[in-house]
């Protein structure tokens, strides 16, 4: 991306900035108070119909007994209050214990994947900061995993990770001789590592892309001033680059967290619909328990609990980062 001329301000401007948005109230808009709503109506109707209303319907379903017998006759499904929640959140019961296990797997997966993706993205963006021959080619190459349809990327990885015909075992066992036995990667304990590697491969380019955009907003003079002060690479990274990237990183980490925590595609395609226990992410857990048992009431209860958890984490995250941001200012 060579300095986009018509590109919107990347990091500096906030949506509410007075400088970025000159007041747009004009006599014309006052005479047509309905117009903006008419322009918004199609988007609003679609969002309501496909996202907002189903969300409330989902919350309602979580209070119903919606097993196989009631799915065909939805209106006849009995109302059971919080029974579904009691079942799926009781960690001493079988359903609750499995959900808790799946929750911890997802937490570990999310922390590792977001951390590694951020690390790789930052490393790539920082070393690609100054121009050199071949930089554009590398940038395009690094963005390719992000542009690939998720299923082709993950299917290819599942081929690499096959026990007998895959590249990974060929290199580890046959060529480097690091292991005596060919391990299984897609079943058993190793499946967690396999899932993590595939996830990082898919998501680090997004971190790279955001950080690259953020780096363009750091004035070169700041680096020159730091260099005059005798600051080496690591000092410049710590005292100039990372503090200047803070606004980008705050949003990036939150977005990556939410996407990774909800990740369904990677395990679904990698393991062919039935994730091994060590890689039983929460989305796939809810999916499988809903469509295997056809207990949509329990499935909805788990979905609602997941949503409440994500909202709570997001709220706490925003609260902490806002407070820290203010005390810095």
């Amino acid at each position: 991306m060579a300095t986009p001329t018509r590109a919107p301000a990347l990091t500096g401007a906030h949506p509410g900035d007075a400088a970025a948005r000159p007041p747009a109230v004009r006599p014309r808009t006052r005479r047509r108070p309905l117009l903006p709503y008419l322009l918004l109506a199609p988007a609003l109707v679609l969002e309501l119909a496909i996202h907002v209303i189903p969300m409330f319907v989902g919350a309602f379903m979580s209070l119903q007994e919606l097993t196989r017998f009631h799915l065909r006759d939805w209106s006849g499904a009995p109302f059971v209050g919080l029974d579904n929640f009691r079942d799926v959140l009781d960690v001493d019961g079988p359903a609750g214990a499995q959900l808790l296990h799946s929750f911890w797997v997802t937490v570990a997966y999310t922390i590792a994947s977001v951390g590694l993706s951020w690390l790789l993205g930052t490393a790539a963006a920082v070393v690609l900061q100054r121009p050199f021959r071949g930089r554009a080619v590398l940038r395009a190459l690094f963005l390719t995993p992000y542009a690939l349809p998720v299923y082709t990327a993950v299917i290819t990885w599942s081929f690499l990770l096959q026990r007998d015909t895959g590249l990974v075992n060929h290199v580890l066992v046959d060529q480097l001789g690091l292991l005596d036995e060919r391990p299984f990667w897609l079943i058993g304990e190793n499946s967690f590592v396999a899932l993590l590697v595939v996830s990082v491969w898919r998501s680090w380019p997004f971190a790279f892309l955001c950080i690259m955009a953020g780096l363009q907003n750091i004035p070169t003079e700041m680096y020159e001033a730091a260099a005059i002060d005798g600051a080496g690479f690591w000092r410049r990274l710590r005292d100039v680059t990372l503090p200047m990237l803070r606004p980008v990183n705050l949003v990036l980490v939150l977005v990556l967290f939410l996407w990774t925590f909800n990740d369904f595609n990677t395990p679904y395609v990698l393991f062919g619909g039935s994730a091994p226990e060590a890689a039983d992410l929460i989305s796939i857990h809810i999916y499988r328990s809903s469509f295997e048992t056809w207990d949509f009431g329990a499935g909805s209860a788990m979905s609602v609990a997941l949503l409440l958890f994500l909202l709570a984490v997001t709220a706490v995250y925003l609260l902490i980062t806002n407070r820290r941001g203010r005390s810095h200012a």
Partner: protein
């Protein structure tokens, strides 16, 4: 400011490792697509024993790939066109007007993007099935249902990216048009849109890619006749045989157009996407 020798070598090491990490699966995809079936059933080899295009021929008959491809093309392009059209009007309203609920609209739309897909899956499934039995309008297991669903998936980011582009177009141009007597819609189509063409193209590609790559809803909301590539490609692994060379060939064929589109439009796409993600 000069680069020290240490920095140069550090850069080379980091870039080499990352390039290897990214390239390995891509290399395997391309070379395995050119392998005869025997090669992918034995221990892995770095190069085809006998390079052949046979997999590109066979892949059409092992599974009904042609039908999946047509379904995916149809669903993704219709969803992209509708999504962008709807997003243009919404983005114009958010960018050019102050109105009650403007902030609420932006926050609500963006936050739906962050919710887990699984949250909508069960209710939408039930709603689509019940609309089908009650009114005869087929949304479940139909391409119409997929189109409607997918177009809302790309809508939030599309609106956000377009607001960024529209904001960067000087309002002086709008005012000049209005002085000439142009109404709001004429201003949008004759002044704002022509100036935002790169943004609109980038958003269209984004919406297309979103629909092209969606797996979760495709796995539940399709049947044999409406199946898309996302689910269809899994048909190559049968109980008896896994045609890895054909899977890689098919993956290559369905990946190249979107990757090429992305890389060609990279500049605009990246600018718009980060504006949406970072703001």
């Amino acid at each position: 400011m000069r680069e020290t020798t240490g920095e140069r070598w550090g850069r080379r090491v980091v870039l080499t490792l990352l390039a290897l990490f990214v390239l390995t699966p891509l290399y395997v995809m391309v070379t395995s697509a050119a392998k005869p079936l025997q090669d992918v059933q034995d221990s892995f080899t770095w190069w085809p024993s006998r390079p052949t295009a046979q997999a590109f021929v066979d892949m059409w008959s092992t599974v009904p790939l042609g039908r999946y491809l047509v379904n995916s093309l149809l669903v993704s392009s219709v969803a992209a066109v509708f999504s962008v059209t709807v997003a243009i009007f919404a983005a114009f309203a958010v960018s050019r007007y102050r109105f009650r609920g403007r902030g609420l609209f932006s926050v609500t739309v963006l936050s739906t993007q962050m919710f887990p897909g699984i949250l909508f899956l069960l209710p939408l499934f039930l709603i689509y099935v019940n609309i089908g039995t009650a009114t005869g309008i087929e949304l479940y297991a139909s391409r119409t249902g997929l189109i409607v669903t997918y177009l809302t998936f790309s809508l939030p980011f599309s609106i956000w990216m377009l607001v960024g582009y529209f904001d960067s177009i000087p309002r002086g141009l709008d005012e000049a048009a209005q002085v000439d007597g142009a109404g709001p819609l004429r201003t949008l189509f004759q002044v704002v849109l022509p100036a935002a063409v790169p943004g609109v193209v980038a958003v269209t590609v984004y919406a297309f890619m979103t629909a092209w790559g969606e797996v979760l809803f495709a796995s539940v909301m399709t049947d044999e006749s409406s199946r898309t590539l996302a689910v269809g490609l899994q048909g190559y692994s049968t109980q008896f045989n896994v045609y890895w060379n054909q899977i890689m060939a098919a993956s290559l064929v369905v990946s190249v157009p979107v990757v090429a589109g992305f890389l060609v439009l990279q500049r605009y796409f990246v600018a718009g996407l980060t504006a949406g993600a970072v703001k």
